[in-house]
Amino acid sequence: VILLWSAAGGVVLGRARGGQLAHLGDLRLRRAWIVLPALAGQCLWVFMPPMLPEHGVDPLRLWLPATLAALVYFALANRHLPGMALVLVGLTCNCVAVAVNGGLMPTNEAALKQAGMDRSLELAQEHPGIRLPRSKDVALAPDDTRLWFLTDTLVSPPLPRRKVFSVGDVFVSAGLVMMLTLGMEGKTQRDTAKGPRTSLSGARTGGPLT
């Protein structure tokens, strides 16, 4: 949800800098078909009640790493877009944190307390290792968490509720804002050593596309 705020922020910032939403249509997305099924599958498992650890493996422990790997492929295919390098860094951070911690993103008691997620905390204390409801997270003790600095240890301001998030999410947010802002300005390619950014829309239409 923090990332939806970033999308809205990117659009607002793009408008404030004189960009046009229509220019986003010039961003040539490759392998876009990966994204919606990946998200739909995540939503399906996230909104299902979590499976008790003694009853088996929560399906999201398998689906989340698989979809993150697919999204790495999507991000690599679109690495020509401005800001995608930052998204790729964030995605890699989240992917590694999930992969080394059993398929879910770890968080901890202190972060959950600070975020006011008391119900999740109670459930995690009753059933250690359970996926937290309506999330991709699992509460782990710091000693049991691998690469804790990549996990959900940060707490957002109330927007309107506080959420826990990871350093990877920060990179993804920054990349998304950059991609939308520059995309709205018609900058559809990231800077390369060979030359300045190019505006495909301007080249095609011979003028501003509004």
Binding site: L91, L112, P160
Partner: protein
């Protein structure tokens, strides 16, 4: 709803100024949808739900 107003305003503005028959606004919305969906799927911020 108030949070969506700047986005809706941008879409309406883009539609109003696009050449007749242009698919640019629709393409722009598609790109916005895919990028937002990708960000949601990539992000691991706790509790997945509406704000």
């Amino acid at each position: 709803m108030k949070r969506l107003i700047p986005i809706i305003t941008s879409v309406v503005h883009a539609s109003a100024h696009a050449p007749v028959g242009s698919r640019a606004p629709l393409r722009a919305l598609w790109v916005l949808l895919v990028l937002s969906a990708a960000a949601l799927a990539i992000g691991a911020s706790g509790e997945f739900g509406l704000p």
